[in-house]
């Protein structure tokens, strides 16, 4: 059974549709990558799951189930119980995501204390242990330091510690390495993967980086224009992408075995803003396979490898 099940989720700001029919699921212990360009609705999908959409945004359609229990619409209190308990999240900007005036140890311990799962002293001890586990050197002393005294990579480790100390069953990681140096990125990704494996935590990894997808994910969910366009096992999708958008995304990865100085591939055109989403398939304006049929909205197919396209690529076409 799925740990997280999102069905036909739609999010709108007033009359403006931002997420328009997202269906995805995460099974216990697996890593699912949610891929898409900026504005594709991936972060809004994540915030809907954890129930922290901005006041101006509303879920207008669809359902979210965590562990079989519907969370969207269930009272606010239930959601707060789930946050920092079964469900945790980390963000893109590690330095600004930590309270600048609070020692990092206290920030790591916080979720245990607010859920009454540990006394203050016990939580502080657990926080020091957790800081050690995420690779903070000298955690005993560091726990009393402020975020400003730590580097960006260290702050991301602190955020991971704060999220995982509650032993969540699902960790949502919203571009956790985008703000970090390339050398630090790999360390942080390894850390997330190792800790998640040890604890059996499922990870919903939001990213636009196909390299991270290849390294981390068991399954992939590709978003475009507020919708899921393709979903499947990471091997299947890298070996045989079926949606033209996924295929183009894969071609954007620079490869070492390509001749040098060759121009890098870029997807033609721009991501349309939600105000200017085309009728029917939202990728048709940038797609070389689009026909008149694409003026209708393609449905997501059933099965293990799902695609929403009238003209999917098949074996041997890439």
């Amino acid at each position: 059974m799925s740990l997280l099940e999102v069905t036909d989720l739609a999010v709108a700001a007033g009359s403006l549709q931002l997420v328009d029919g997202v269906t995805l699921d995460v099974r216990p212990g697996e890593v699912v990558a949610l891929v898409g360009e900026s504005g594709s609705g991936k972060s809004l999908t994540a915030l809907s799951v954890i129930g922290l959409l901005a006041d101006s945004l509303r879920i207008t359609r669809g359902s979210i189930r965590f562990d079989g229990v519907p969370v969207h619409g269930a009272g606010g209190q239930d959601m707060a119980d789930l946050r920092g308990n079964g469900l945790a999240m980390i963000f893109q900007e590690p330095v600004s995501s930590l309270n600048p005036l609070m020692p990092i140890g206290a920030q790591v311990a916080e979720s245990l204390i607010v859920h009454g799962r540990a006394s203050a002293a016990d939580a502080a001890q657990q926080a020091v242990r957790m800081l050690g586990r995420v690779g903070i050197p000298d955690p005993e002393r560091r726990a009393h330091q402020l975020p400003a005294e730590l580097s960006g990579g260290m702050c991301q480790r602190v955020m991971i510690a704060a999220a995982l100390i509650s032993r969540p069953r699902l960790l949502i990681a919203d571009e956790p390495t985008t703000a970090l140096d390339v050398t630090i990125q790999a360390q942080i990704l390894d850390l997330i993967r190792d800790l998640a494996e040890e604890e059996g935590t499922a990870v919903l990894m939001i990213t636009h980086d196909m390299g991270i997808v290849a390294e981390m994910a068991d399954r992939v969910c590709v978003m475009y224009g507020g919708r899921v366009v393709e979903q499947g096992d990471v091997h299947d999708i890298f070996r045989q992408p079926r949606h033209p958008y996924t295929a183009m995304l894969l071609r954007t990865i620079p490869r070492l075995d390509h001749p040098p100085k060759q121009e890098l591939f870029a997807i033609p055109g721009n991501v349309p803003s939600p105000r200017n989403w085309p009728q029917g398939c939202r990728f048709k304006t940038r797609c070389d396979r689009a026909t008149a049929q694409c003026d209708a909205t393609p449905a997501l197919s059933e099965g293990a490898h799902r695609v929403a396209c009238f003209h999917p690529l098949s074996e041997g076409m890439t």
Partner: protein
């Protein structure tokens, strides 16, 4: 020594040097301004001592010789500075009493009024600023902005007179002027406090609005903190840093306001005494009160500095 104590000592030393510089500048400038006033100082002082109808040219001449007003200005100033270096503020030219004793009796009343004004402004600005900061752009926000602009635009003396007319003369809720008891404190405090709150409620509002949209606030919510707990544990402390710093900025307005409002309400404080002394050409009193006002400004700023350091631990280690 703790880092906090060390930083506090450094602040103290800086402010000490500043106090000496302020004393010199205030002394020289106020002396120069007294010299620049039109009319014969000796004549006015004699009138202050004996009454206009009881004095003549001979008594004015006697005063001139007695106070050394016939000597060159630079010599007079040097005499004053020499006495000041021995902590001697001299005697009132009109009443012959010790300036230090006069000020000692009045300063307490002025500080009482200043404290009343700051407390009144916080009682207004904090709740208004927090409520509007939680809903920036809302109806209440726009209304308080209009009221703030209106109140800030009214000079303190005009606002004071309006308050007296309404609450003292018409409604007879509070006494008109003077100082007989706590009820006398209400209207002058309100006059000054409204002027201060007109700006500081916007500072509180901005600080709260900024903290509410900070990344670390969202991260705190993902840990399972309720909106209320996030406000009390994280938002208010962060928002208080600029608010306390702004009280320091308002000190200049406060001291200026005390001088004016004391005159409007015949408050037995140092500002009222200063205005009287200027009219009576009581040079020693003017010099003394101006000096004490300047030093009070430095001392209050020191308190604000220490308070800021207490709230915001960043930079303590440095």
């Amino acid at each position: 020594m703790t880092p906090f104590a060390k930083a506090a000592l450094a602040t103290l030393a800086t402010r000490g040097v500043q106090a000496i510089i302020v004393a010199l500048i205030v002394g020289i400038v106020s002396f120069a301004m007294m010299q620049a006033l039109p009319g014969d100082a000796a004549y006015r002082i004699a009138a202050g001592r004996y009454g206009y109808d009881m004095m003549d040219a001979a008594s004015a001449e006697a005063v001139r010789i007695e106070l050394g007003l016939d000597q060159p200005a630079l010599v007079q100033m040097w005499t004053w500075l020499k006495a000041l270096a021995q902590f001697d503020l001299g005697t009132s030219a009109v009443y012959g009493t010790s300036v230090a004793e006069e000020i000692g009796a009045q300063l307490g009343y002025s500080l009482l009024l200043a404290a009343g004004a700051v407390i009144t402004s916080l009682l207004i600005a904090l709740p208004v600023g927090i409520v509007t900061g939680l809903r920036p752009g809302g109806v209440l926000d726009r209304m308080t902005l209009a009221v703030s602009i209106f109140l800030r635009a009214i000079p303190a003396f005009a606002l004071g007179i309006v308050l007296v007319l309404v609450f003292a003369v018409q409604l007879k809720l509070f006494p008109v002027a003077g100082f007989k008891g706590a009820s006398n404190l209400v209207l002058p405090s309100l006059t000054l406090g409204l002027g201060l709150a007109a700006v500081s409620n916007r500072v509180v509002r901005d600080a709260v609005a900024e903290a509410m949209s900070a990344d670390w606030r969202l991260f705190a919510r993902t840990k399972g903190l309720s909106a209320r707990l996030t406000l009390t544990r994280h938002v208010l402390r962060n928002a208080s840093v600029p608010v306390v710093a702004y009280i320091g900025v308002q000190l200049a307005y406060l001291i200026e306001g005390v001088v004016i409002v004391e005159s409007v309400f015949a408050w037995p404080g140092i500002g009222h005494a200063l205005v009287h002394a200027i009219f009576g050409r009581d040079i020693a009193m003017v010099q003394g009160t101006a000096l004490v006002l300047g030093l009070t400004y430095v001392a209050l700023n020191l308190c604000i500095d220490l308070a800021c350091r207490g709230i915001d631990p960043r930079g303590r280690a440095a």
